[in-house]
Every structure is written in C-alpha cells, then in structure tokens.
Symmetry: C2
Subunit: 393 residues, 2 copies
C-alpha cells in the first residue's frame, strides 16, 4: 500500500429540508457578498432558488446571481462569473446545482483568487495558490464535486475539456437533500450512478496496492449504488435510494475510496472527457460507453483486481481461471449498464465518430502525442485510438 493524504474539510448537511439551513451555513463563513451560481431554469421553476434566496435574506446576506451554466460547463461562463464577482466585490460563491455548477464555481474561485488567466490552471501551465471559498446546494448526485478537490471545464476554443484539482477548491459546506433529485430524468439519474461508480472503479482497478479496508468500502459503495440505481428505474421518488446514491456520490470522489492506492487509473475519464468536449454527451453515459472497450483492452494487466470486482461486486461465480472471471465481470458490468438504460458502445451513446474524428479524439486525449494516460496500462495515442475504435459498436 502507498502512503496517502486524506483531507475532506467539507461540512456535509444531509437530509430532508436541509436547504433551509443554507443561509445559516453561509453566515458562518463571514463573507461580505455572495455569488449565487446556478444552471438551467429547473432550479428556478422548482422554487429551489427562491427558497435559497429567502434563506440568505433571512440572515441579511447580500448576494448577486449568475445562472446559465450548462453540462460540460464552459470557460466563457467562468470568465463572465469572474468579471461579475470582481465588479460586485463577491467573496463567497454558493453553487446551486450539480457537478457542472460546482465546477464552474471552482473555476471562478480560482480566477478571482489568483492572477492571470484562469485557463492556465486547466491547461497545466501554472498552479493555483488559492481559491475563493465555495459552498454547494446539490441537485444532481453524480460528479462528487461537492466534496472533491477537482473541477472540469470545457474551453469552447477547440472544445477542449480539462480538469484541475487542488485542495483549495474543496467546498466549505455541502447541503445534500436527496429530495432535490426526485425530478431528474431517468437518463440523468442513471448517468449519475455510472459516474459515481466510475469514481470508485478508477481507484479500485489497479496493480493491487489497495488497503483491504479501502477495498471493502469501495465494494460496499458499488453494490449500494447498483441496487439503488435499479430501484430508481422503478420509482424515482424512492427517498432511501436517492439518499444512498447522493451520499455515495460524495464518498466516491472525496478521496476515501483511494486511500492507500496508487492514485487511480483515470484513463476512462480522460477518454470520456474528449468525447464530452467534442460531442457534448452526458458524462456518465459517455463513461459507460467507453468503459467496456477500455476494460477489455487492459484487464490482462491486473486480472486479479478485475476478478475481485467481478466476485465481490457483480456476484460473478469464479470461473476456471482468474482471467475468465475477470472477463465475466466486464460482461456483467456491461449487462448492468444496459439494464439501467446506459450505453455500452459509442453508437448506443448516439455518437458515430468518423475515422478522422477518432484520430482527433486520440490526438487531443494524448495532448498531441505528448502524454500517456492510465496506470493499469499506460496508453499511448495509438492505444487510445484503438479503444475508441473498439467502443464504436
């Protein structure tokens, strides 16, 4: 096992009606002025934004609002937020929404608290040394951004999707009311479940460096999300299932499932980021569509881990060899994805890239053939192209 650092300072307030506490939580932060940041009209239509604003008013907190964040959140909106925050003297950002809104808030936070162009951090040209404090009221269980150190932004110039991680951006608080996710369309709910599972699987599938306690936690988390995802297909207002998934979203990406590991593989995420940047697909669905192709390409590098996933999470009976068990696990995971309406190929995702586009995806994903991705197996630009091609379906 590896040495590790574990740092999850976010105060989580979880359960029914907890959004009513938002004003009080912001008040504790001793800020002068808040940016209320949100996405589409759904938080307006549902009345959530009104309730949040009433809660801020009740504590006498000054604020300005900025909506319009889209899935695969855009750099242009981040720049707009930075400008607004500077004009208004904002010193705290309240993100009301899912991972996209929180990620956009983090990027605005970096932009305000550091000099120079905010894209530099995502382009890995510079390191951020601060971030404006952020709080979140979560409406989609998926990205785990409410407790994680990471954010992902899409630059419309070239439609490049890039992540940046730093502890400075960890939310001060996160309000998690599972009821706020009742109205999500099933496709988004299930896409979220895949994303949550992938945050754990990226860390779980490695060369065997995990701690047993980390493995046990990860397996429990994966089993719970799978069961809950199925329950939510039948009844999207199942509170218990919504709650299990929402808490799993935070635990899956706050670092807990990575303790003692080598840091995670993340190749599937990086392969999907290019798909998301180019085709604007739902992140979790994109992950489901490439995962099988990636898994078949690499599983022989660590068949023991794939076999453990198969037995402990997917309830696969052990086969004659470890490799057979591992492969049966990959098939079982794809069966599960299909059972919850998720794609297991690019075609099912609604994306049919040309050969030229596949080469472009691989070129972008390898930063113009200057980096490899993955730890299970280091993947070159050519490997990436093969995985995209095998995923076509």
């Amino acid at each position: 096992m590896h040495n590790f650092e574990y740092y999850t300072p976010t105060k989580v307030v979880f359960g029914k009606n907890t959004e009513a506490e938002t004003g009080k939580l912001v008040k504790e932060q001793n800020c002068r002025k808040v940016l209320v940041h949100y996405g589409s009209g759904s938080v307006v239509r549902s009345g959530l934004l009104d309730r949040i604003c009433r809660s801020l008013n009740a504590e006498g907190i000054q604020y300005v609002s900025l909506g319009g964040v889209v899935p695969n959140p855009r750099l242009s909106k981040v720049r707009e937020g930075i400008l607004l925050c500077r004009q208004e003297g904002v010193d705290f950002i309240l993100a009301v929404g899912g991972g996209s809104v929180i990620d956009s808030a983090k990027a605005i936070g970096y932009g305000i608290a550091n000099e120079g162009d905010v894209w530099d951090f995502y382009a890995r040209k510079r390191t951020a040394y601060a971030c404006l404090p952020i709080g979140a009221v979560l409406t989609i269980a998926a990205a785990g951004s409410e407790m994680s150190n990471s954010s992902v932004i899409t630059n419309e110039e070239g439609f490049i999707k890039r992540g940046y991680s730093s502890n400075y951006s960890r939310c001060r608080f996160a309000v998690l009311n599972p009821e706020l996710t009742y109205t999500l369309p099933d496709y988004q709910t299930q896409s979220g479940c895949v994303d949550i599972m992938m945050h754990t699987m990226e860390r779980y599938l490695n060369h065997g460096t995990n701690m047993e306690i980390t493995d046990g936690i990860s397996e429990a988390l994966l089993r719970t999300v799978m069961k809950s995802a199925r329950l939510l297909r039948e009844n999207p207002k199942n509170y218990e299932a919504r709650a299990e998934v929402m808490w799993a979203s935070s635990l899956s990406h706050n670092g807990l499932t990575g303790c003692g590991t080598d840091g995670g593989d993340w190749a599937s995420h990086q392969l999907e980021h290019e798909l998301g940047g180019m085709f604007d697909v739902a992140h979790g669905a994109g992950l489901a569509a490439v995962w099988g192709s990636w898994a078949r390409y690499v599983y022989k590098e660590c068949p023991d881990r794939f076999a453990k996933l198969a037995v402990k999470v997917l309830m696969v009976q052990e086969k004659g060899s470890v490799e057979e068990t591992a492969l049966a696990g990959i098939e079982a995971m794809e069966d599960f994805y299909r059972s919850i309406g998720m794609p297991t190929t690019l075609r099912e995702l609604g994306v049919e890239p040309t050969d030229e586009q596949i080469l472009e995806l691989a070129d972008k994903c390898s930063f113009g053939n200057t980096r490899t991705i993955g730890i299970v197996k280091k993947l070159s630009r050519e490997d990436m192209a093969r995985i995209y091609r095998n995923a076509k379906g």
Copy 2:
C-alpha cells in the same frame, strides 16, 4: 434513515516516516508557540519525541513540552497543562501519543479557549464555544480521537470518568505512521482493536435506521479489524495489518460509520467509563468485558440488527429464528474476543467488584439515578447494576 451532519476537517497524513512532516504541518497553522504534549517515557525512549522536536526546530517553531499523561487521563494533568500554556503563551497543542494524550490535549484546549473551570464541560454544566487548535502524531490505534470530536477525562475527585464532544476540538491534522505502533504490547494492541470495533458497533446496533452504504462500510471495517487483530497476534510488525487497524481507528470514530443512524447506543461505553474510572482498566479490554452482558440484556429489542452483525461480520450461518442467529452472533463475538486474548467477563478483566461496588458503579453511571443510558434499550440504574452483575463471570 435520519438526517445527519458529517464534518471531518482533520488533514490525515498517513504512512511510513510521515512524522518527519510534523514541523511542516505545524508551520501551516501559523502559531506562535506550541505545547508538545505526551504520555509516558516510551515516546522518549523510542526517539520519537526527539524526531518530532527536530522537525519543529527545522521549521523554527518555538515550543514547550509537557509529558506524564496516563491512560484514563487525569484532570490534574489537564489543569497543569492549562497553567503552563497560559504562562508560556501557547496557541497550538501537538499531542504525541494515543487517545489519552489527544484527549488531554483537547481538554487543555477547551480550558485555554473558554473561561471558567474546564471540568464544567465534562460535568455537562456548560458548553464550550472554542478550543485551541490541536494536531496529533498517533502512537496507538484505538480511541479514534485523532479524527473524532470527543475526549474523555477522569476527575480524581471521586474517580469520575466523563466525555465531552464538540467539533471545535477536531484535530487540524493527524500524522498516522503505522510503524509507530510496532512496539505496543499485544494486550494494548488487542484492546485497541476492541475499542475500534466498539466505536462502529455502538452505531451499528440500533433500531434499523442505518443507510445501506453505512452498514456496508461498517461491516467492511469490522471484518478488516478482526482479521488484522489476529494477524498482529502472530506478528506485531505486520505493516499492512498495523495500517488497516490504524486507519480503521480513525474511520470508526470520525462519524462515517454513524451517517443516517440515530447517533449510536453508547451504553457499553458508558458502562465501561465507570469501570475505567474506578478500577483503571484498559478501555478496550473493559469494553470487551461488559459487551456480552450488555448484548444479552438488550438484543431482543433489535434482533434483526444483531443477526445482521452475526451473518455479515461474524460469518454465522443463519439459524432457525432471527433471535437464535442474533444470539449465535453474540457468542461468536465473545469467541473472537477470547481468541485475541481479550476478557469477556469482569473476572477475566481482573476486576471482582463487591455488591456494594456494583451499586456504586450503577449509581455513578446513572448520574445518581438522574439519567438512563442507551438507545437500543433505555437502561435505568437497576438495569445497569444487572448488566454489571451478569458480567462478573
């Protein structure tokens, strides 16, 4: 499931040689002067204290030292620490040791940061509104104080052992190097394992309000600790087993295993506190000695939960009825305790209280017959006396 708050701001730095980073971690706290607080001579003899001090010197950090904390840490030492910190202008406490040292540091922290007598908080007369910041270098995996909000102090006037919990006291950082626990005597190692398990079991055994993900995490934690405890009987220098136990100690009591529950039963802990106060026994061993008696007294209130523990953690085959399965689980847990050299009766603990002493224990534990304890079953003073009596062996 219940609404919950989850707040674990402690930065954990885990693994080999991590104590060398102590100076740097203290430096991040921007303090003027540090109290280095420790227990017996073992941290001196092992050279750990020297290494810590070198690490502080390297960062130019001023400090004073105060050793002599004992297991079941004493109020008199806390008062000594408060006086010293006031004289020296200390504004950060570095605890080097196990739960007793960290708990003593927390009490000193309360004493400095609040007016009036520090015992008031433990006697539940007042609420603390602040605590001096604390960091920890852990040498015993057991109490979980390095990430928890709680501390337990023994007042020599009447030998009363009382706990106080508040988020203010959560450590800013915790340095967890499993190698530092290599030299612990087996009895202390195993006593620590029982304490860790009990922090999870106190939360697990309830009226069925848990989240599934919390249950799964708790079961994984318990299985891991049981396996590791057995491995450490054979080889106390098994790094992996030491690491699993050390990380479990933090996760067991930082709140993770209580998410969604009713807050935990804690009757076993409270019954043990009186034993610890009166007979100065090792905390974990005391818990093992009373647990079986408590469990048999209450399991019919929630046989499902006891049965789940039996099947998922103790690998008991399901019996004809839920109650039989539950009872078989209690027996299996006692078998496990015996297998790691832990007592399952007061006699095996080395304590043979007279009838008068049992009444005194129950009287103290019920605060002079003014409170009940427990959630699984609310226990009166008479119930407590019966449980102590049944535990005699």
